[in-house]
């Protein structure tokens, strides 16, 4: 079945450094939809980015990700981390006719 693998555990970055959270997926379908959700402390997950177009960069709120079907990846990036980016990030996968599969989540901690 479909599955998503993310950078495990906690990623700690100094403010101002670039962010990269890894997400790879497995699916037998050729047209997957990939999502990144962000969950701040004491809040619920909300959509950050989504894409289904191969090799097209998607951006929102300073974050960007590019779906690469050749490597089954959808890494989340940001050029300069801010303290407010500290949160839990989930990568998710869906295919037409199925529900979303979420990865285990990556906790990003940005420190001064």
């Amino acid at each position: 079945g479909d599955s998503v693998t993310q950078t495990e555990g906690l990623v700690t970055l100094t403010e101002g450094l670039p962010v990269m959270l890894n997400c790879t997926y497995q699916t037998i379908y050729s047209n997957p939809f990939l999502f990144w959700y962000v969950q701040h402390l004491n809040e619920s997950p909300r959509l950050l980015l989504k894409s289904f177009t191969d090799n097209k960069r998607t951006e929102h709120q300073g974050f960007h990700a590019t779906l690469h079907k050749s490597s089954s990846s959808f890494h989340l990036q940001k050029s300069s981390a801010q303290l407010s980016d500290s949160a839990l990030y989930y990568c998710a996968l869906t295919n037409s006719g199925t529900y979303q599969r979420f990865g285990t989540g990556t906790k990003l901690q940005v420190v001064p």
Binding site: F33, R46, L47, T94, Y99
Partner: protein, 118 residues
Amino acid sequence: NAGVIQTPRHKVTGKGQEATLWCEPISGHSAVFWYRQTIVQGLEFLTYFRNQAPIDDSGMPKERFSAQMPNQSHSTLKIQSTQPQDSAVYLCASSLDDGGAQGYAEQFFGPGTRLTVL
């Protein structure tokens, strides 16, 4: 649009008691999902409904958990004989579709119910 509504926000039960959690999805959304979230396990899928019909409950612990969606405006998750390991935040989410023809099945999450089993 009030978003997904979940009640209660917090629930404390004694071991062995029953807990019923409520979810009101966003009006017009055809898919409703239940998740359990803990620090250790992260976001765990429990079950989901499409147009009120149960589609997949593969994540549900079989013996004590059950979910229903009696109408399009609410769903319930019932846990019988609660155990301390059931303590978690239970999240309900809804989406416009569940990934069918459109594919962009963005899920909108409710605020969650924090269940504490003593």
